[in-house]
Point group: C2
Chain length 92, copies 2
Amino acid sequence: MLLRWVIGQCLRRTRLDQGKTLREVAEAAGVSIGHLSEVERGRKEPSSEVLAAICNALGLDLVDLLRAAQWELAKWQLPRPRLRCGDLALAA
Amino acid sequence: MLLRWVIGQCLRRTRLDQGKTLREVAEAAGVSIGHLSEVERGRKEPSSEVLAAICNALGLDLVDLLRAAQWELAKWQLPRPRLRCGDLALAA
């Protein structure tokens, strides 16, 4: 798991939770919609200055972002439950 | 406070705590000493891949780095004690 993927997920989740569009956040942050979209999908590496502008547009400070990133990562690292046939039968 | 400064501080602190030189970590991570030094001082923005290689060389995983970054940031954001003349007199 790379840092830009985790951060992209956090930014996207925060934006959607706030009911904001890519356009709104991109305009507030002074970046293009395409760039914001690439950052959210973990495809482009934002500079720390661009990241600060996006966070600012979302009302996030750096501590919030780091906390959200830790939480995001923990979710991915949780062991997935492994179902066995018996479990499925019991759950039915 | 920009993310690359906070991350640079964490990497430098971890390296020094482990008693490792810039050369040792740079070689293990496959980056130049100059680049690692710039990253540690928050002057160069490392790609997520380079950051992962440096973390790997230090035995840090991404969760450890995010936790350390939060801690580093909290230290900087603590209100600094403001001494007044009276406090100095009392402390003397």
